[in-house]
């Protein structure tokens, strides 16, 4: 969706402050929020594409005004209320007024190390031939659904060169909305000078990983 989260190339933001860091003291609300997100039983299963999209649906002014781990709060609150597992009144009170669906025991602490080592994998077996090959010139489509997508606005309509074929990966546009479908994923390099009219120097490149349905031959 054309949301405020899609920030690449936006103008008006000031300098980066490299000294800003965010240590996570164990009792701090930020640490709790961090751990809650990784640990709780999510409606419909842990789905990073849906999680990202629910954050994108925050009111733009709130997105800009909330600090990082607070955006995580709004995401989890949105996911839970959307599924009907909790209500706004319950979130306010911190007390349950109804039961959640029976999902078995929540993830135990013993599972954390195994999750860490095995990881989450978006790769899937190939289901055919990839249309493009390394070196092919491709154009990013003008793709702007009211839904999840990982094609940044600043690349739409631009022509780049396939740097590498990354194999088949779950397509976020479908997965976020409940349908798991894989497509070939391509790393595409775009000359910076083609993307921005204030770049004077040639030779710099911006790379992004783009799914096959975001691209057409150029």
């Amino acid at each position: 969706m054309d949301g405020v989260h899609d920030m690449g190339g936006m103008q008006g933001f000031g300098p980066v402050d490299p000294a800003t860091d965010e240590p996570l003291p164990e009792t701090d609300w930020r640490s709790r929020m961090f751990g809650i997100e990784l640990a709780y039983t999510q409606p419909g299963g842990f789905n990073l594409d849906w999680m990202r999209h629910v954050m994108e649906c925050m009111p733009p002014a709130a997105y800009l005004a909330s600090e990082y781990y607070d955006r995580w709060y709004w995401r989890e609150a949105g996911i839970l209320v959307n599924a009907g597992w909790v209500t706004i009144d319950e979130l306010k009170a911190g007390k349950a007024a109804s039961r959640a669906p029976c999902t078995g025991d929540p993830v135990p602490p013993e599972a954390v190390s195994a999750i860490l080592m095995q990881g989450i994998d978006s790769r899937r077996p190939p289901q055919g031939n990839a249309v493009f090959r390394a070196g092919d010139r491709v154009r990013a489509l003008f793709h702007s659904p009211l839904g999840a997508t990982r094609l940044p606005r600043y690349l739409r309509g631009h022509v780049g060169t396939v740097e590498q074929v990354r194999g088949w990966h779950v397509l976020p546009d479908a997965s976020a909305h409940g349908e798991e479908r894989a497509e070939p994923l391509y790393c595409v390099g775009f000359p910076a000078r083609d993307l921005w009219d204030d770049v004077t120097r040639g030779g710099d490149t911006v790379f992004a990983d783009l799914w096959e349905s975001y691209l057409e031959p150029a």
């Binding site: 933001f13 980066v16 419909g44 629910v54 979130l91 195994a114 790769r123």
Partner: protein, 232 residues
């Protein structure tokens, strides 16, 4: 290193067969209601959320503690620094790392977490790499820990794809005009880490001493390996 293989996908996907509405307009409406009905203070909201989830049987607070502990003690830039130091001292490892980083980090027994598709990009005297996620905050947690605030900032996300040289100057790094810059926008589950150049005059150092030189920021691309101007 993986002591117990738990059916992790089953744990994470528990309840995935339950039908959940996944409609953008509906969630935009819910987000608006949440923001108009809940108090502004995140301290209170997060506390209430944790109690509520525990009461509903959806969360074990000990698992929250454990995740926090893991990111304090086991996962952080020292993982990435080990990889870099090994690549500097072992050319065959470096070759494997640049070809298939996932398999190479498995050799070191390092976690994968969200970095199952890790790509390592190499700096050279003529080429400098920088990593960003313009759409959210994707970052190789398994290698570098949780991202610093500046990495998640709107300033960094918006500007580094457009004017990387100006952003690097804000980090105290000025690159020559002859150096090509490659910016990697983490739009998929592929995670990027930079292999910085080995600093001159470090020929006498062993792998461990070299790892101590490697700053977090140098593996994101906003510093050189031995620049320790900022924490991490």
């Amino acid at each position: 290193m993986v002591a117990t293989i738990l059916p992790i996908q089953a744990v994470l996907l528990r309840g995935h067969d339950m039908s959940v509405p996944r409609d953008t307009k509906r969630v935009i409406g819910i987000q608006q209601r949440l923001h108009s009905h809940l108090p502004p203070d995140p301290v209170l909201r997060v506390k209430a959320l944790e109690s509520l989830l525990v009461e509903k049987g959806l969360l074990n607070s000990a698992t929250v503690d454990r995740w926090i502990e893991v990111f304090h003690e086991e996962v952080g830039p020292k993982n990435g620094a080990r990889v870099v130091a090994r690549a500097w001292t072992d050319p065959a490892f470096k070759q494997r790392l640049l070809t298939n980083a996932g398999d190479a980090i498995d050799e070191l027994g390092l976690p994968r977490l969200e970095a199952t598709s890790l790509v390592v990009v190499e700096n050279t005297p003529k080429r400098h790499n920088i990593v960003v996620c313009t759409l959210c905050s994707c970052y190789p947690w398994a290698m570098l820990g949780v991202p610093p605030t500046w990495y998640k900032s709107f300033e960094y996300r918006s500007r580094v794809v457009r004017d990387p040289r100006a952003v690097l100057k804000e980090f105290g790094l000025e690159l020559g005009e002859e150096v090509e810059i490659r910016v990697w926008d983490s739009t998929s589950e592929v995670r990027y880490m930079v292999l910085p150049e080995r600093p001159a005059g470090t020929e006498h150092l062993d792998e461990e001493a070299l790892a101590a030189l490697v700053s977090r920021d140098s593996m994101v691309g906003t510093a050189l390996a031995d620049m320790h101007t900022h924490k991490g």
